[in-house]
């Protein structure tokens, strides 16, 4: 059996890659802050959210107009699933109006869009709960990140942990930017998708780091960047295959998943691509630069 191992200098271009990434991160952060409160779904802002279906002549603008006409000036309406007749409607209100609001919305839908129109799902989140969900979700994610930092420091060494976490942040920020750009809002489901991205990114990074760790134990003198390049090349077939397969799965979710899953799978797709890229062009450079700054040898853990 013959296997040709490639000798591509992946890391040679890393300064360019880092600049490219920084630009993407800047863009994503801009989108994040520019969207202000509108980026949060009802889970985090509080209020009412309805998933409605319009039997005939539906459109996001049409639904919004119908609601505005009946006095709901601040209604936020967006299409739920591409090509479907379903729309997400967000309205303000407190807990006492629940039943009245529901019947009014149903009435507006059936009178303007056909009697088969319906409310498929309705959520109400009180303002206190909205804030709590936000804080709790953030806390859980931050502690999880700290956990990853600790774990990788323990199993490898701090420089690697730093690389993995920076790559993580990179992946989540950029895929979030893409997700928000496509017009979606943050819900608890989006938090679950973000966590999935974290999972993929960490998995990918650790696998490469493990190979680097293994190669380092065999050498006395080395040039870190060369070792890294070598490992990346050695693992190239695994990397390509795994990423291809996960992209397959995410694409399946996107095309077949329907409504809720479909939107989030766009988030996942972006995250997976970012995750593959960041292992080579963010995680490894971070380790390289850390060691350049600190000098000294790497402990072959």
């Amino acid at each position: 059996m013959s296997r040709k191992v490639t000798k591509i200098d992946f890391l040679g271009v890393f300064p360019l890659a880092v600049i490219f990434s920084l630009l993407l991160i800047a863009g994503s952060l801009y989108i994040f802050f520019a969207k202000g409160e509108t980026k949060y779904g009802v889970d985090f802002t509080g209020g009412y959210e309805f998933l409605v279906s319009a039997a005939e002549n539906g459109s996001a603008d049409g639904v919004r107009a119908a609601l505005n006409a009946k006095g709901y000036e601040n209604a936020v309406v967006q299409s739920f699933e591409v090509g479907s007749n379903q729309y997400l409607v967000r309205l303000e209100g407190d807990q006492t109006e629940s039943e009245a609001l529901k019947s009014k919305v149903k009435e507006i839908m059936t009178s303007s869009f056909g009697s088969a129109s319906d409310i498929l799902r309705q959520d109400f989140v009180g303002p206190t709960v909205g804030n709590e969900l936000r804080t709790k979700a953030l806390l859980a994610v931050l502690v999880a990140l700290a956990g990853i930092l600790a774990f990788i420091s323990f199993r490898f060494e701090f420089a690697f942990a730093l690389g993995a976490v920076v790559a993580l942040f990179h992946d989540v920020i950029i895929s979030t930017g893409i997700y928000l750009l496509s017009g979606q809002t943050f819900s608890m489901g989006a938090v679950a998708a973000a966590l999935t991205i974290v999972g993929y990114s960490v998995n990918d990074t650790i696998v490469i780091f493990d190979r680097i760790r293994e190669e380092l134990t065999h050498r006395q003198k080395f040039n870190l960047i060369d070792v890294m390049n070598e490992c990346i090349n050695l693992m190239l077939s695994r990397t390509l295959i795994t990423h291809l397969l996960t992209l397959f799965s995410a694409a399946a979710l996107y095309f077949f998943g329907g409504g809720a899953i479909s939107d989030l799978s766009l988030y996942l797709l972006a995250g997976i691509i970012a995750g593959s890229y960041s292992t080579i062009y963010i995680a490894c450079p971070v380790v390289l630069m850390w060691h350049k700054m600190k000098g000294g040898a790497i402990e072959a853990a």
Binding site: M1, S2, R3, L51, Q95, S98, E99, D118, L120, R121, Q122, D123, F124, V125, G126, T128, V129, L133, A140, V143, A144, I148, I152, R155, M188, G189, A192, A193, L195, T196, G199, Y200, V202, N203, D204, I206, V207, D210, R211, R213, L234, S237, I241, T242, L244, L245, T246, F248, S249, A250, A251, A252, L253, F255, F256, G257, G258, G259, I261, L268
Partner: protein
């Protein structure tokens, strides 16, 4: 050697166990006997449709209600002791204000209260013209006990009410210090749920005052909205009611049967007050005020007031289950229509199957027979995850499906790492056995570290997360364990087994 047989046995054992746990999910009707062993996989609301409500118990109101009850019994005690109390008020939830005829009466009252009411703390005495006021407060510790108990009491009452609703597998859970989570899968009529579940349902019997009487009175509204005066002392409450039923005499009504204590009290009240009207009040709304024509000994009464059959049924349920100790405020409310739930499941399954097929096709095409081993190990992985979720009674939610997708991705990666490593070893000239052994061994650290990191994250999220995050964390944590089992333990058995038969049946890779 025999280790392959032992290992294969262990594997087979786990598969059989897994199927036992899975049977209730897939063969619901025929396996009622195994119910004690495992249950079907429960689906979260986003997949099954249903109602999810988070209530906050208004604990201060429970404290106020306790003070009110204390006020009522103090009034009765002082009357029996012939101490002239002119007014009783609960101006704040933790304060009690007693107005006496004059200063000496106040002192006698104070002495009397010192004997009986250890939970009240004397606060102040204020003169009020010729009268004197005594102000008492409830200690913080006692108030806290009432507040805490009100939540457990509320959970019990909700449970009773929901039981009567007849929902399959409702979830009622205390959340934090003062919140209650109610989940009712498969229910789509949120309005009825909220009416039955959320109302305090405080039932009281009071007398309509005779003009010129010295009893304190309080105005309340009746069902038509008009204001009526009733005495401010309730004579009987919902606690004296044993059974409540819908009855169809004189239109729709709810007939009440008192407890034996209650029946005795009722007889006494009706005997002492023939000719007066007895007001029946529910949640501070006057429902009816029939005349007492004669003493009633059967302990039967009926509430009629223009109910529809639905309303009467709801009222009966609520009275049977008992009153809530405090009002419940809706903090969060979600409803998923059943059609949406079913659609979500169907689409989710289609997506997973499609993704899986693509992965399987590739694996078999690229890794040939070893690819088949990998696909089987993936299938086993999924089966084990679902079986374990069923065994623990965990719930599969939409974010859980996302975690499943992640697990499959990591599992596939584990297989690919091993196989690529085996190929590398073969390329470097190792013999078949050695290549397999080296491949598994060297890949082991990578797979272990990656999965442990994921497990660590899963556990952190489980303990810190709520709702969807928790659902995600459970599936992820279980998935990591099954992946380690399948990719490392199970696949290896296949390779070793095929080497060790007498004839060489090497697995192509």
């Amino acid at each position: 050697m025999s280790t392959v047989k032992t290992r294969a046995f262990v594997l087979l054992g786990s598969v059989v166990l897994a199927f036992v746990f899975l049977m209730p999910t897939f063969f619901k009707p025929s396996f009622k006997d195994i119910q004690w062993l495992s249950k079907p996989l429960s689906l979260g609301l986003d997949l099954s449709g249903g109602v999810h409500i988070v209530y906050e118990v208004q604990q201060e109101e429970a404290v106020r209600a306790k003070m009110q009850a204390t006020a009522n019994s103090i009034r009765a005690e002082l009357r029996d002791a012939k101490i002239a109390l002119t007014a009783v008020k609960v101006p704040e939830s933790r304060k009690l204000e007693l107005t006496f005829l004059n200063d000496q009466t106040a002192e006698r009252g104070k002495a009397k209260l010192l004997e009986g009411h250890k939970d009240l703390q004397f606060f102040d005495k204020i003169p009020d013209g010729t009268k004197a006021k005594l102000i008492y407060t409830i200690s913080d510790k006692d108030a806290q006990v009432v507040a805490t108990e009100s939540v457990s009491h509320a959970v019990e009452t909700l449970r009773n009410r929901v039981d009567q609703f007849g929902v399959a597998e409702p979830l009622i859970q205390r959340v934090g210090t003062n919140r209650i989570l109610l989940q009712m899968p498969g229910v789509s009529d949120v309005a009825s749920v909220k009416k039955v579940v959320g109302n305090v349902a405080k039932l009281e019997f009071r007398l309509i005052p005779i003009p010129g009487s010295s009893e304190g009175t309080v105005p309340i509204k009746d069902k038509a909205g008009a204001t009526v005066l009733v005495e401010d002392q309730p004579l009987m409450t919902g606690q004296d009611v044993a059974v409540a039923r819908v009855a169809f005499e004189q239109g729709v009504s709810v007939s009440l049967t008192m407890t034996s204590e209650g029946a005795r009290t009722f007889r006494k009240i009706t005997a002492e007050n023939v000719g007066r009207q007895l007001a029946i009040i529910l949640d501070n709304v006057l429902y009816s005020s029939p005349n007492i024509n004669e003493p009633i000994s059967g302990g039967q009464a009926s509430i009629s007031g223009g109910f529809t059959v639905e309303e009467a049924k709801q009222l009966a349920v609520v009275l049977r289950a008992g009153a809530l100790p405090a009002p419940l405020k809706v903090m969060e409310e979600r409803t998923v229509g059943p059609s949406l739930g079913a659609e979500s499941i169907k689409k989710g399954i289609t997506a997973i199957v499609a993704g899986f097929l693509m992965v399987a096709l590739f694996m078999v095409f690229y890794y040939k027979k070893s690819g088949v081993v990998a696909v089987i190990s993936l299938l086993l992985n999924l089966i084990l995850i679902i079986a374990i979720l069923s065994a623990f009674g965990a719930t599969m939610t939409l974010p859980g499906l996302a975690a499943l997708a992640l697990t499959v991705g990591v599992a596939v990666d584990s297989n690919v790492i091993i196989y690529e490593r085996i190929k590398d070893e073969l390329y470097n000239g190792a013999g078949r056995d050695a290549a397999v052994r080296q491949g598994f061994d060297k890949a082991y650290t990578a797979i272990l570290d990656a999965n442990l990191a994921a497990l660590f994250v899963g556990l952190i999220l489980y303990f810190l997360g709520t709702g969807p995050v928790k659902g995600f964390a459970v599936t992820l944590s279980i998935g990591v364990c099954t992946t380690l089992f399948c990719a490392v333990f199970a696949s290896r058995i296949a390779f070793d087994a095929f080497e060790l038969k007498g004839k060489k049946l090497p697995l192509s890779i």
